[in-house]
């Protein structure tokens, strides 16, 4: 058993830290306030290859392993969870299914523009009446001559506002349940796709969360991802890996809040001594560290299993659950350590508190994760 990072992982971590310290961290408050990541920052992130971290070199990616990618999401999310989910949703939910299930032509057609950030990727599964119950989607497709025609509504699309490439799920016949669902690679600038606005949210306000109306959207036959009827399987497999990305994002948020709390506790004096000398605060910091370390171990383990191409769905579910619940708890306590200042935007822990909550919800709620875990322990 080896708990050490390799030289490659250390290099990636340091590279990500340099990017975070110089570009992402200074922009984090504005990213939240302006409800968007500055396009110049998105361009820098793209140019440095962070949107193609584990895409193979032949498709213009950096060819790093999955653990390197997880390290990147963690480091970025320490400073800005909105930027973390930009990279995570793009990579886990769009690049990954193309890599896993795409044909060679599809990989050649779509991955280079995704790897270089020319197009930002997203995932169009959720609908107004179908969230966790993903097999029950109402977006339909029919075959017409040399194409598929898609109709329906999609909501809660992370990164949707960039109008890049989306993995769209639709059913040919709702009576067939999950077996009727297929996945398509769709350029979101295709005619018939109408963006219905950006949601106002509690947290990750710098991340676009958009709704789409699909009105007779024509998708070329060669852009069917996998085989017809395999869409549900592709969605589940994608979310298995995606959950590790969300776990890393949550872990990063918790670590960011912890680092600030520790520094503040050492610096802030009340009653003639630093907060860090008060046992009530010491215990908060100890509990934060306990939870963070547990979340880190299971997140890295899930990433490691994926790197080894071993089964990781249960570990991904556990990592996402533990890390997200750690993030909401740690950020709440971080505000308490900061007292009144914790409630002020400038101190950033209030943003982290708002950002953390979504990690318990998206890419499968924690209740869904517990179903996955329970099913495994009772099998």
């Amino acid at each position: 058993m080896d708990f050490e990072f390799s030289e490659e992982h250390l290099l990636v971590q340091e590279g990500a830290r340099d990017l975070v310290e110089s570009k992402i961290k200074p922009a984090a408050i504005d990213t939240d306030k302006n409800h968007m990541i500055d396009p110049t920052l998105v361009k820098t992130i793209s140019e440095l290859g962070y949107l193609g971290a584990y895409i193979p070199e032949v498709y213009s990616g950096a060819d790093l392993d999955f653990l390197s990618y997880i390290i990147i999401i963690e480091e970025v999310s320490k400073a800005c969870a909105s930027t973390g989910i930009l990279i995570s949703a793009h990579t886990s939910l769009c690049c990954n299914p193309i890599l896993q299930s795409g044909t060679e032509t599809q990989k050649q057609n779509f991955l280079p523009s995704l790897a270089t950030g020319e197009k930002i990727g997203c995932f169009l599964l959720t609908e107004p009446d179908s969230g966790s119950d993903a097999a029950n989607i109402r977006t339909t497709y029919v075959e017409k001559e040399d194409a598929y025609i898609l109709n329906g509504n999609k909501i809660f699309v992370t990164n949707g506002g960039y109008l890049g490439i989306g993995i769209v799920f639709a059913t040919r016949d709702r009576s067939q349940g999950y077996k009727g669902i297929s996945a398509f690679i769709v350029d979101l600038s295709t005619s018939g796709i109408e963006i219905m606005g950006n949601e106002e949210k509690l947290g990750i306000r710098g991340s676009y969360t958009t709704s789409f109306a699909l009105d007779n959207v024509k998708v070329a036959k060669e852009n069917l991802l996998g085989k017809e009827g395999e869409g549900f399987k592709i969605a589940l497999e994608t979310l298995n890996g995606g959950r590790i990305g969300v776990a890393a994002q949550a872990l990063g948020i918790a670590e960011g809040a912890f680092d600030r709390s520790r520094a503040y506790a050492k610096e802030r004096k009340q009653f003639g001594k630093p907060l860090a000398a008060v046992q009530a605060i010491q215990f908060k910091l100890a509990d934060m560290k306990l939870k963070i370390e547990s979340a880190k171990l299971i997140t890295y383990k899930a990433a490691w299993l994926k790197c080894q191409k071993m089964q990781h769905s249960v570990e991904s579910a556990m990592a996402k659950t533990i890390a997200s619940e750690t993030a909401t708890w740690v950020t709440k306590e971080a505000i308490q350590v900061h007292g009144g200042y914790g409630y002020i935007c400038e101190y950033e822990v209030e943003r982290m508190f708002r950002d953390a909550k979504i990690t318990e919800i998206y890419e499968g709620t924690n209740e869904i994760q517990r179903i996955v875990i329970a099913k495994d322990v009772l099998k």
């Binding site: 030289e7 490659e8 250390l10 990636v12 440095l48 290859g49 070199e57 060819d63 790093l64």
Partner: protein
């Protein structure tokens, strides 16, 4: 042009450094490339990109120093030499300069670029000593480098009375200021390529150097003890009527601080 760039691995001073019984507590320390050396690497890579150059980096230190070399690779340096010898653990600036002299002599370089100082010791000795030992021109605190021709550079440095522009014949040594450039962020693809590149590792024996030759028997200077800087006292805050506060502050500056 063949350029030799030197890099030092230093403690990350952004993190909390603790001193116990006159020694720095090693546990929990993290190391980074010396910030001024990052400027040296950037200056080197820019010269390579703009004028064409063969670039070699040298870093002395334990096995973790290879991370500094790989980071420089990711930024665009082509070759790396790692001098790894436990005998160098207690080396001072002079010892390092003597080892670097040998590296320079083995490589037929036209230019040496170093950071003007290291952020851990803040000495700023090594580069200047190296130039002296090699008997080549040295320009310190450099803020711009222009290639005049194959044998000459026009170098700007910040001096006492402003910017000085100096024409310097090659071979030469430059120590660079942090205002010379903004070191580039390594791209992930660069990091990936850096991982695959070879690093030439040398011991003192490989370099045919003895401790006597590098003035380390005994070492010329030695750090006897570290002391933590004293903690800054909190200031005083006055609130209320401006005139009353002013009178009080004047009285304190005069009687307590004794500065007026």
């Amino acid at each position: 042009m063949k350029i030799l760039t030197t890099v030092k691995k230093v403690v990350d001073v952004e993190l909390n450094i603790q001193v116990k019984e006159g020694k720095i507590v090693q546990d929990g320390l993290q190391y980074v490339m010396n910030a001024w050396d990052e400027n040296a690497v950037e200056a080197t890579v820019q010269l390579k990109e703009n004028n064409g150059a063969e670039t070699t980096l040298v870093c002395m230190g334990d096995s973790e120093s290879t991370l500094m070399i790989r980071k420089a690779y990711a930024m665009g340096i082509e070759n790396g030499i790692h001098v790894d010898d436990p005998l160098l653990e207690s080396a001072d600036s002079n010892g390092y300069a003597k080892v670097l002299k040998k590296i320079y002599e083995n490589g037929d370089y036209d230019l040496i670029i170093t950071g003007k100082q290291a952020q851990d010791t803040d000495n700023g000795h090594t580069g200047i000593m190296l130039a002296e030992y090699l008997d080549i021109p040295c320009v310190s605190n450099v803020v711009a480098i222009e290639v005049v021709d194959e044998s000459q550079l026009a170098v700007s440095r910040i001096g006492d009375s402003g910017t000085e522009i100096i024409n310097v014949n090659l071979p030469a040594l430059l120590t660079v200021s942090d205002s010379i450039n903004e070191p580039r962020l390594p791209a992930l693809r660069g990091i990936m390529m850096a991982k695959k590149k070879a690093i030439e590792t040398k011991t003192l024996a490989d370099l045919e150097l003895t401790l006597e030759q590098i003035d380390m028997q005994p070492v010329r200077t030695e750090i006897l003890e570290y002391q933590a800087p004293s903690v800054r006292q909190a200031g005083k805050k006055f609130e209320g009527d401006a005139a009353e506060i002013t009178a009080k502050v004047v009285q304190l500056l005069s009687n307590e601080a004794k500065v007026i």
